[in-house]
């Protein structure tokens, strides 16, 4: 049994908390949030140790706690990770690993010293469609990979869900958030470029825009070049599009010497029929006493469950997570390079 705590019960933290309840062998024992409502929700799921300040948990964690999921604002990642590692806990941290490469490097060193495991939530790698595309590419069906097109254009953090909820103020603070859409969505796409090319990359071109007049960028286009192969990637991200759940304007296209494959080919034709079908399957699973497949009604959000399950397996069986702290560092380094390139371009 793996005893887990969740720090931060915002959108992603709540999602991770609820996913934990479906992972075999996980016992959710602690939760941290400043909101009493969020803590009450955690209590209702059976969490016994509740805190309003993560320092209280990390300075004196329950003796049986093994791992922690950190889902705090970006500017608190470094400090909370350091405290968790010091407390001897394995860590799953929501992306980005930290807001700067300097902070990421510090985390990489802390992880090495601690001997604990740290996995960053590079959830896009765990999207079913991406996994399928990777295996098709690895089987050689597409020939040599020449170009990738990677796109994610969505509402961004400034749009609320079905029920109006305030946008946390740190999203409007450059110092605290560390960057804009490149750090938020570009992070996933740059990671996917590294994932598909199995190597590092550099930035050939980057253009960033501030359509929303905020100090952080809300749209960006970047061209990546693999350092190990001739493969190039075009990254296109934006927070400017009004989209409604379950629509998800995300796609990856792999262009190879023998063919191409788009993630759009793996998306259900009718997302609503898909939701009904998957919902019915889960109902049947529940009726016959089997585990459900959480979030399968969304077709893309199962990735959050898959990544957490992978982390749990790695901790329980002492395996190395497929997403390393170095992956987090390299991704942030590329983003910082894009910021520098974009600055040169605009100047």
């Amino acid at each position: 049994m793996l005893n887990v705590g969740v720090i931060g019960l915002g959108k992603m933290g709540s999602l991770h908390m609820m996913n934990c309840l479906h992972i075999e062998g996980v016992e959710l024992i602690a939760a941290v949030d400043q909101s009493r409502k969020a803590l009450n929700k955690a209590r209702s799921t059976g969490v016994t140790h509740l805190y309003s300040d993560y320092h209280d948990l990390l300075h004196r964690p329950p003796p049986n706690m093994d791992a922690v999921i950190i889902s705090l604002p970006n500017f608190l990642h470094l400090e909370s990770i350091a405290l968790a590692l010091e407390a001897g806990l394995d860590v799953f941290v929501e992306k980005p690993m930290a807001k700067t490469a300097e902070e990421c490097l510090e985390i990489v060193n802390l992880v090495r010293k601690s001997g604990r495991k740290l996995m960053v939530g590079h959830s896009s790698r765990f999207v079913d469609a991406i996994q399928k595309m990777k295996s098709v590419l690895d089987m050689g069906y597409l020939g040599s990979l020449e170009t990738l097109t990677l796109e994610e254009i969505i509402n961004g953090p400034f749009a609320h869900g079905s029920i109006p909820t305030p946008v946390p103020e740190w999203w409007f603070n450059h110092e605290k958030v560390g960057g804009g859409v490149l750090l938020d969505l570009g992070y996933h796409l740059i990671d996917l470029f590294r994932f598909f090319t199995r190597g590092e990359c550099r930035v050939l071109f980057a253009s960033i825009d501030h359509k929303l007049n905020l100090p952080i960028e809300d749209s960006a286009v970047a061209v990546l070049q693999s350092t190990d192969s001739p493969t190039k990637g075009i990254v296109n991200v934006g927070w400017y599009q009004k989209s409604t759940f379950p629509q998800f304007n995300f796609r990856v296209i792999l262009h190879g010497s023998s063919g191409y494959m788009s993630s759009d080919q793996l998306v259900p034709n009718n997302v609503y029929l898909h939701a009904i079908k998957e919902g019915a399957k889960n109902l049947c699973r529940r009726i016959i006493g089997k585990r459900i497949k959480p979030l399968s009604y969304t077709y893309f959000a199962t990735a959050y469950y898959n990544e957490l399950q992978h982390f749990v397996e790695c901790v329980m069986h002492d395996l190395e997570p497929s997403v390393s702290p170095e992956d987090g560092l390299r991704t942030i380094e590329t983003i910082e390079e894009a910021y520098k390139t974009a600055t040169r371009t605009t100047s």
Partner: protein, 311 residues
């Protein structure tokens, strides 16, 4: 005998700055709008309830507000004190909306003041709608101004079907947590309109929002917000007499549909272009779908995606 009711003007524009100014002037001529003399302060209330810009059909286009400012200065003098106002909402902070939607730039270029009504002095007022007594915090700037211009957007809305002039006045309530009014939203919309009545409503129909956004290229104007909503409902494909808050408004004498007259363009032209909600749209069946989803989540204990949290 024909009853002479309120007048609503409908004017077409090509959406460029100059065209919008001309369209506003024409729309006001058509309703024979005569401002009071000695206007020294003007408040303009756009609809900025989200952080999505005007092209999405959710928020008032700053170009429309810019044209209203020009009209005010042409009519009442360049020294007229003009404020663009909005109040915080549950999920929207006015200071961010002003910045993100281009109003800070507009205010700087036009040298007008931006005012967050949630920071204004307030007067507490109670009204009775049917058997329900509702309390509102009213920003003083709206009570003290010489001319109150409402600049709503023309759009459909899941909870109350349509949102235009009467709902834009609801956005003036000082309290940010307007969600507290949502259990009785229709009564609250009518309640606030019993207290606050814009002198003039100029509707942004440049991009309207139906099933999807559409360039309607329309300006609508009237001195009567009820008549604006009556006409807006017809454009958006709803029978206004079947919209709950319109029915309550009639019962509370906020407006009278008898004899509402449209002048200018033919309403059918805009009705034809407006993308009405299909019968099978999610919005029409939202309550049923959310109920089914809740049952599903309860039965399977499946995880609720953050976008659906709280339904």
């Amino acid at each position: 005998m024909e009853i002479m009711g309120e007048i609503v003007s409908l004017v077409k524009t090509q959406s460029s700055g100059e065209d919008i100014r001309e369209a506003i002037a024409k729309a006001l001529d058509l309703i024979d709008f005569k401002s009071k003399n000695n206007i020294s302060s003007v408040v303009i209330k756009p609809n900025l309830c989200y952080y999505w810009n005007a092209s999405t059909g959710y928020t008032t286009d700053p170009r429309l507000v810019s044209a209203i400012i020009d009209w005010v200065r042409d009519t009442h003098g360049v020294d007229t004190d003009i404020k663009i106002v909005e109040a915080d909402a549950t999920a929207m902070k006015t200071k961010h909306a002003f910045l993100m939607l281009g109003y800070e730039k507009l205010a700087a270029s036009k040298k007008v003041v931006l005012l967050n009504l949630s920071d204004d002095n307030i007067t507490e007022k109670k009204v009775k709608i049917g058997k329900r007594e509702i309390e509102f915090k009213i920003p003083s700037s709206l009570l003290d101004t010489d001319l109150f211009v409402s600049a709503p957007k023309l759009k459909i809305m899941r909870n109350v079907k349509i949102t235009c002039a009467l709902k834009n006045t609801f956005g003036c309530i000082s309290s940010p947590r307007k969600i507290v009014y949502h259990p009785f939203l229709e009564e609250a919309i009518v309640g606030i309109n019993k207290i606050l009545r814009p002198d003039l409503t100029i509707v942004d129909g440049l991009v309207a929002l139906g099933h999807h956004p559409v360039k309607l290229n329309m300006i609508m104007a009237s001195t009567d917000p009820f008549s604006v909503d009556w006409t807006a409902s017809r454009i958006m494909g709803y029978n206004p007499s079947r919209i709950k808050f319109m029915k309550i408004a009639m019962a509370e004498n906020i407006g009278n549909p008898e004899g509402i007259t449209t002048r200018g363009e033919n309403i059918e032209e805009f009705q034809r272009i407006f993308p009405k909600e299909p019968v099978l749209s999610l919005n029409h069946h939202w309550n049923l779908l959310t109920r089914l989803f809740k049952l599903y989540a309860k039965a399977t204990k499946d995880v609720i995606h953050p976008s659906l949290e709280g339904i």
